[in-house]
């Protein structure tokens, strides 16, 4: 997108009211607590929260270690859960029998609140990162499994017929038609799964852990340090946003045909590559002609 100078004005006009409202809300909140309309034990002043954030991130910098531990737990758990879920969904979509005999267990796993397994998983995998990764993997499994399976099933019969009539092999139908058709839903499932994985990691940290943002938050709130606790919570929000937009970016890259702009960009790039290839071939052909 080219910046015509227009964009900047547009964004100022759009964003300024939001900022004004946000600032007004914060001021109101600050005044309300300072005047004692709201008890500061329950809801600390925004300036205190700001100070706590500055303390966590800059002055003491205690958050970083915990931040990356929790992020790592969530991402690892997600990867394990997603790989298992996608493999199982692939097998289920390929073999009806496999699906018939596996799906009852998947349903049972789905209706069990995965969080209920927290104490067991901690007893099994210990107080370290292992148990957090395991819980994250268990609770992010299901949305990914269901979405991938639904996506792989919802193939347009006309499209399959077209592929068949053009002589596509089974493998081609699967990889060129069925998988691309499933990708949007799969990504929707993975977006949900990633957020759930973060919840899993954090809950396991609440239950029993030595490090992580969850521990930091639980410690702060049990010390009635509400500002510190909120600062830790906001770090989790940041983490959630990071994970979500990361996934969104990946979604945008992989499922490029869903968005107009990306679609035309990819088409342009492919057309260019094709032209370059054709140009090379033509050159070769021409040279061939000259030698004759």
């Amino acid at each position: 997108m080219r910046d015509t100078g227009f964009g900047a004005i547009y964004w100022t006009v759009r964003i300024a009211p939001h900022l004004v409202i946000f600032a007004a809300l914060l001021t109101l909140w600050e005044v309300a607590v300072a005047q004692g309309w709201i008890t500061s034990i329950m809801i600390p002043r925004p300036s205190k929260i700001g100070a706590a954030i500055a303390n966590l991130y800059v002055i003491k910098g205690t958050i970083w270690e915990h931040f990356f531990i929790t992020l790592g737990e969530a991402v690892f758990g997600f990867l394990i859960g997603a790989v298992v879920a996608i493999l199982l969904a692939l097998f289920s979509s390929l073999s009806e029998r496999f699906e018939r005999y596996v799906s009852p267990y998947a349903v049972v796993l789905n209706v069990t609140p995965g969080i209920a397994l927290t104490p067991l998983i901690i007893a099994w995998f210990g107080y370290g990162m292992g148990s957090k990764i395991a819980l994250a993997a268990v609770i992010c499994f299901f949305p990914i499994f269901v979405n991938t399976l639904t996506g792989l099933r919802q193939m347009d019969p006309d499209r399959e017929e077209l592929f068949r009539s053009l002589g596509a092999s089974n493998r081609q139908v699967f990889f060129k038609a069925r998988v691309p058709a499933a990708l949007p839903l799969m990504f929707a499932g993975m977006k949900i799964g990633l957020t759930t994985a973060l919840i899993g990691a954090v809950v396991a940290e609440f239950a029993q852990a030595t490090a992580g943002v969850g521990v930091l938050m639980a410690r702060a709130s049990f010390a009635l340090d509400m500002a510190g606790s909120l600062a830790a919570l906001l770090s989790m929000t940041l983490m959630g946003l990071l994970l979500f937009y990361g996934m969104e970016l990946l979604d945008d890259r992989v499922v490029f045909w869903r968005r107009e702009a990306r679609m035309s960009a990819v088409s342009r790039a492919r057309a260019k590559a094709w032209k370059a290839r054709r140009g090379q071939r033509d050159e070769k052909n021409n040279m061939g002609g000259e030698t004759k």
């Binding site: 034990i41 995965g114 104490p119 609440f206 239950a207």
Partner: protein, 282 residues
């Protein structure tokens, strides 16, 4: 169903049962021979014995179930009503929506359950903080879904209704809500599931009573068989909730399924006929 189909169905059920029993037998022998660590995999017979004990001989689970499910019900009702109400208000008003959007995005990215320790510290130990946690967890899915349901209303139909002189209230009641109900119900289903998780987390942190505290106590004592029995109880509850919500969904969004549509059409035809009959009498 043809007799063949019925036979096939029963044969499949038989296969399922056989596989399940086979797995259990394997598990049981594995435990007997010491192949499987009872810490990880308590023997199926031990789990059955635990079921018997916590439900019948000791009967201690009933109280905890009663406490937890009461909290779930209270929190879910309040949270989802709030969610649907606010969602409808925000969805109908473009300005409110525009200014709330950034906050909604930020709140959506926050793992909601993570607010639990904060709420407990703010509201103190006791049922009120647990209910607050469940409310918070239950609020979001219905809120977001109602919002998107209201926003995705069919513009052409809305224009048609407006041009035929329908009031705002009529548009809401006859077009927006019916169109949004399937999506709202999907949100309620999600909320109900997360309510169960919410109560568990609240009870893990605040370990006084309830099914979550019970599971925690059993695992602390390494009584894995009883912990499994509690978790399987939760599975059953989860299943009942799932089926129950499905039934409610079928009933409320009756036009989405054949049987419901037929039932409602017949009912309306009867009511219409009765009214016409009454008119004829007059």
């Amino acid at each position: 169903m043809t007799p063949e189909g019925a036979r096939l169905k029963w044969r499949r059920r038989g296969n399922h049962a056989a596989i399940f029993l086979g797995l259990m037998a394997l598990w049981q022998t594995g435990s007997w021979t010491g192949f499987l660590d009872p810490l990880f995999f308590p023997a199926p017979l031990d789990i059955l014995a635990s079921f018997w004990r916590i439900y019948v001989t000791q009967g201690n689970i009933w109280y905890h179930l009663y406490v937890s499910l009461g909290l779930v019900l209270a929190g879910f009702t309040m949270g989802s009503i709030l969610g649907v109400g606010l969602g409808a208000v925000v969805g109908m008003n473009a300005t409110v929506r525009r200014f709330l959007q950034p906050y909604v995005i930020v709140l959506e990215a926050t793992p909601r359950i993570a607010v639990a320790p904060l709420l407990i510290a703010a509201l103190g130990f006791g049922p009120q903080s647990k209910i607050a946690i469940i409310m918070l967890v239950c609020f979001f899915a219905p809120f977001i879904n109602t919002l998107s349901g209201v926003l995705n209303v069919n513009r052409d139909r809305m224009e048609l209704m407006r041009s035929l002189g329908a009031s705002k209230m009529q548009v809401l009641r006859k077009l927006v809500l019916p169109d949004a109900i399937p999506v709202i119900m999907a949100g309620e289903r999600l909320a109900m599931t997360s309510a169960l998780s919410g109560v568990l987390v609240a009870e893990f942190i605040q370990r006084d009573q309830g099914i979550g505290a019970l599971i925690l106590t059993y695992t602390r004592n390494l009584n894995m068989a009883s912990a499994f029995a509690c978790i399987l109880t939760l599975t059953a509850i989860g299943f009942l909730i799932f089926k129950g919500m499905e039934m409610v969904d079928h009933h409320v969004a009756y036009w989405k399924n054949e049987a419901g549509l037929k039932r409602m059409t017949e009912k309306r035809a009867r009511a219409f006929a009765a009214r016409r009959g009454g008119l004829a009498h007059a």
